[in-house]
């Protein structure tokens, strides 16, 4: 049964995953087309500060009179971009390290094992703060901080998957047919592990965005005046008690929607990718 047919079947049978895919498409569209479609310049302040949602400003304006709707849409590109970049880095490094540890075993396994343990032993958040505080709060540093935090999860999953397949028949066959260890690892193990790692990407995408938001809350997030969901929620949070709920609410909603979509996507992907579920 081809994956596409199976995918269609899973989507049809599971409405939640279908919704997740539509939301994902919406988010990507906002990230790509967003900045050009937005009604206002997201960075332009105006004297209509703290205006509630209205016809001109769908999501109202923030304390400097900037249109919240424009900023939320424009922020999609930055937030998703950062999350994807961080996940891409850690997907590559984590998978390779994990597979190497799982497949080669011995010293490689022990060394990579200790590195992942050290990172795991670190309180995730303080590690990110340390990195950003040490290297300055540029977008690149936030991406690196998020990537490093998630490295252990990937390395662990990749290692177990590679370990299971080490003794699998087809691996044994490939090794017997004279293929080099490296070749076996890349041509046999990696393709099998990749789909499972794909599921992992979507699951940790959510955490990547939340990390950035957390960093912004303590002042180490992205530099102002750039529009980013995390900062907007962090700044808006101060206005909840005074009644301007919309400044934090809509970026929070966008954040929730994105993380929500990635988590549901992860479950959906797992159904499609996971051979056991394909019965």
């Amino acid at each position: 049964m081809s994956t596409l047919a199976h995918a269609r079947h899973v989507l049809a049978e599971n409405p939640v995953t279908a919704v997740a895919f539509c939301l994902f498409a919406l988010l990507v569209a906002a990230a790509i087309a967003g900045p050009s479609l937005v009604p206002y310049d997201p960075l332009a302040s105006s004297d209509r500060a703290l205006a509630p949602p209205s016809v001109q400003h769908w999501f109202g304006t923030d304390n400097l009179g900037r249109d919240v709707f424009s900023r939320v849409v424009v922020a999609a590109r930055l937030d998703l971009g950062m999350a994807f970049a961080a996940m891409a880095i850690v997907f590559a490094t984590g998978t390779v390290a994990g597979v190497a540890a799982g497949f080669l075993g011995g010293w490689t396994d022990r060394v990579i094992g200790r590195v992942t343990d050290t990172i795991m032993a670190f309180p995730l958040f303080v590690l990110a703060m340390g990195l950003v505080a040490a290297a300055g709060n540029t977008v690149a540093n936030v991406i690196w901080a998020t990537a490093i935090i998630n490295f252990p999860i990937y390395a662990r999953v990749a290692r177990t998957e590679a370990n299971i397949r080490r003794e699998a028949g087809f691996v044994e066959a490939a090794r017997l047919s004279g293929r080099g260890t490296l070749q076996v690892m890349i041509c046999e193990i990696l393709p099998n592990v990749l789909p499972i790692m794909m599921v992992q990407v979507s699951l940790t995408m959510g955490y990547a965005i939340l990390n950035t938001a957390g960093l912004s809350f303590i002042g180490l997030g992205i530099r102002p005046p750039t529009a980013e969901w995390g900062i907007m929620v962090a700044e808006g949070a101060g206005y909840i008690v005074s009644g301007e709920w919309w400044i934090a609410f809509f970026p929070g909603l966008a954040l929730m929607l994105a993380v929500f979509t990635f988590n549901l996507l992860g479950d959906g992907l797992r159904d499609i990718v996971d051979p056991r579920r394909r019965s």
Binding site: A121, P123, G130, G214, A248, V259, D267
Partner: protein, 338 residues
């Protein structure tokens, strides 16, 4: 036999702890802030700053400072926190129970709701209940903890007035129970002081709920997955064939087996929560070690950051040990073969 496992687990943990010590030291030294300047005060002249740098011993070469640090560590001296002026060990000892009480209660909430939702969702896969549980769990983890925390304070304290003022572990006018474990709930219960117990519980409610909701998704998802797998296994069908009551089947037979992978997730979730409660502590003015480390980090005050990270390292190792022991208690296969 258990001692064997403990020794083996600790031996494996030594390199990790060593790694943590080295990385922390380097990380704090890489921090941009110059504590000497910070503590010389705003109007200090350049010589005054140098003078303080000398007293703090920051002018020596890096590796010398590292050796001093290791020496102190061996003597259990985690140094003095410049921000609070107290020995870091005293600060941590005083603040750790606050963080532990909050995190463990948060985990208990997440575990109870998470497992229940996981089981309910697994018993009727694909039904509206399944989707609802998944939605709620995922929604919980989709919002940053600080946002949920502030929202709860606004709704339950400011608007409805159900929850007490977010003033930390106890409201301003009640004093902490006599110190036994540092856990206010336990200490006040031991002291039989119902009023402080109620006050402490009320203060714990919102922050623990905020943390709990955040940890709900991984537990619910893992329980659902594990239960689905176990429910379709042969021994469950055999048990149904012998007419066992549904409650026994689901709880004693299926859930007990499904708990195995859930326990490992709990471990990961707890270490994740210990990191995440930094923000919740900031929102609820909770005097935990998370907010302590954050303030020290921003003030580039090395000692507390190093002390905090080391404590978390040790906590992480003990945590894994506890998980293994718990795993054994549930699964005889591991106990007898190990």
């Amino acid at each position: 036999m258990v001692l064997g496992l403990v020794a083996q687990r600790l031996a494996a943990a030594l390199p990790t702890l060593a790694g943590v010590v080295v990385v922390t030291f380097l990380l704090t030294r890489a921090l941009p802030g110059d504590p000497a300047a910070y503590f010389a005060g705003p109007a200090a002249t350049r010589e005054a700053v140098e003078e303080i740098r000398r007293t703090l011993g920051l002018d020596q070469p890096l590796w010398l400072q590292f050796l001093d640090y290791l020496g102190d560590l061996a003597r259990g001296d985690l140094g003095i926190s410049i921000t609070t002026g107290q020995p870091v060990l005293a600060d941590l000892a005083q603040r750790l129970p606050a963080s532990a009480e909050l995190t463990l209660l948060g985990l208990a909430i997440a575990a109870n709701f998470g497992v229940t939702m996981g089981v309910v969702a697994a018993l009727r896969p694909g039904s509206w209940v399944d989707h609802l549980c998944r939605m709620i769990a995922t929604a919980g983890v989709s919002l940053p903890t600080f946002f949920t925390g502030l929202l709860f304070v606004y709704v339950f304290y400011y608007v409805l007035g159900w929850a007490p003022a977010p003033l930390g572990r106890l409201d301003a006018f009640s004093s902490p129970p006599p110190h036994v474990t540092g856990f206010y709930l336990i200490d006040s219960a031991l002291a039989g002081d119902g009023e402080t117990f109620a006050a402490a519980a009320a203060q714990l409610a919102l922050p623990a709920l905020t943390l709990g909701i955040f940890a709900l998704a991984p537990i619910a998802r893992m329980t659902r997955g594990a239960m689905l797998a176990v429910m379709s296994s042969d021994f469950i069908r055999a048990a149904r064939a012998s007419g066992l009551a549904r409650r026994t089947l689901v709880l004693r037979y299926a859930l007990r087996n499904a708990l195995l992978p859930v326990v490992t997730t709990l471990g990961m979730v707890l270490s994740f929560l210990l990191g995440a409660n930094v923000l919740v502590e900031k929102v609820f003015a909770w005097p935990g070690i998370g907010s302590y480390a954050v303030e020290a980090l921003i003030a580039s005050d090395y000692a507390p950051v190093q002390g905090f990270v080391l404590t978390m390292g040790v906590l992480y190792v003990t945590l894994n040990l506890l998980i293994d022991l718990a795993y054994q208690a549930i699964d005889p296969r591991v106990r007898i073969e190990a």
